[in-house]
Amino acid sequence: MNGDALWLRARIIRAIRGFFWDRGFLEVETPLLIPANAPEEYIDPIPTLPWQLQTSPELCMKRLLCRGHKRLFQISHCWRAEERGQKHLSEFTMLEWYRADSDYNALVTDCEELLRQVATACLSDAPVYRYNRTIVDPFVPWAKISVQETFLRFSNTTAWDCLEKGIYEEILTEVIEPALAVFPVPVILYDYPAELAALSRLKPGQPELAERFELYLAGLELANGFSELNDAAEQRKRFEEANRSRVKDGRCALPLPERFLDELDEMPPSAGIAMGIDRLVMLAAGAESIDEVVAFTPEQL
């Protein structure tokens, strides 16, 4: 980690704050230590008995939407047990923002404007993002491809086939992501199989699809956004389903966020998104490893 990367990181965070303040978003801080996260099949919270560290500020942010706030953003630390690699830190920094009375299309526009503004403000020499050997220009039109089309085009199979055969993650990381890695523009991968959307709304008239998208730059997954599910009964069913899968895998069931479920029916139709700040700094710095953009890695403590 060099000093330049720390300065770049600080400038990016300042630019993000400016971006959302200028658009009338309320910056909030919600508790990091919470009684329950959204139970997900493959995300493990770090317990700090009797509660747990947040894996995402999602639930508290949505409860603020229920209270009538229309535009919210937060930059906070999140923790996910046993996630450590070149692109992962168990403790990392997440940007989340939420829009009431909107769907996921509004978030795609936000992403376009945000990445352009950050590039302009922080990368004056060359306003592009870099990862491995790919240079990504955020100022030209972005590539928008459905998950269905992506799997057909690059792997000759469907996401549903892969899910059924239990090879979805392998195909995604070994075939799809390398294919996206050479795109010279940001890529929006949209409309995921409903099975892969624990908290998002299904597509009206196409219940096999969820209104969820992921933003990729040079094959690096940067953000995950969706139209929010605001049906408490359906949400409870999905949490219970996730817990059943966890137990079947030999993992522990997680507590349900009861207060969140109590209030969820009050939430207006909304859209929300999570973006990894460490990865955004990696892309801005042209770093190969997340270790290069944080002050300390866990191994250095």
């Binding site: 493959y42 993650e169 892969l196 995950n224």
Partner: protein
């Protein structure tokens, strides 16, 4: 027993009955999906490389490796015999397994033998060994050809470049890490 959380460069595990060294490791986790642990491993017996991807929940047996100090006894054909001085236990290693180490093995040399269970799979030598030169050409005084080294054969049969002033019968120090001449043993 190791789990995927223990995977890192340098970890030694047993796979299909052979010891493997993890030489590259990456953790991958697509958005909200299951974590994958990608590894590249080297077979510690035959050196072949292997790519393997694991999922959480998978477990590994550690490679039961032990370094034991032993003395090199003798060679018979392509078999090299070593003995543990404390237990008098003997192990035999193939020339192929020894690799370059065979160039520096002189009877009674103390080395660390790496054992995988009962099987010897390699040796670590001292960094420097003394070996006697058994054959090398005379250095003609006044030779102006400019050569600053000449070939020499040592008592193990190994051939290396030495400075021109080294003569037959002299004891020299060889660096076993690169196989090069280091200095002359005086006296």
């Amino acid at each position: 027993m190791y789990t995927v959380a223990d995977l890192k460069k340098g970890l030694k595990i047993t796979l299909d009955g052979d010891p493997y060294l993890v030489v590259a490791f990456d953790f991958v986790k697509p958005g909200k999906g299951q974590a994958l642990y990608r590894t590249k491993m080297r077979n510690m017996i035959n050196g072949t490389l292997l790519d393997r991807t694991y999922r959480s929940g998978e477990t590994f047996e550690p490679a039961n490796l032990e370094d034991r100090q032993m003395e090199y006894l003798y060679k018979e054909g392509t078999h090299y015999t070593f003995m543990d001085q404390a237990t008098y236990e003997q192990v035999v290693m193939e020339e192929e397994t020894l690799g370059d180490a065979k160039n520096f093995l002189l009877e009674n040399l103390k080395v660390d033998v790496m054992l995988f269970g009962e099987k010897a799979i390699g040796v670590s030598l001292p960094n420097f060994v003394n070996l006697r030169v058994t054959a090398t050409e005379q250095w003609a005084k006044g030779d102006t050809s400019g050569n600053d080294s000449k070939p020499a054969t040592v008592e193990t049969g190994y051939v290396l470049r030495v400075p021109p002033f080294i003569e037959e019968g002299e004891l020299i120090v060889i660096d076993t890490r690169n196989g090069e001449y280091s200095t002359r043993v005086k006296g």
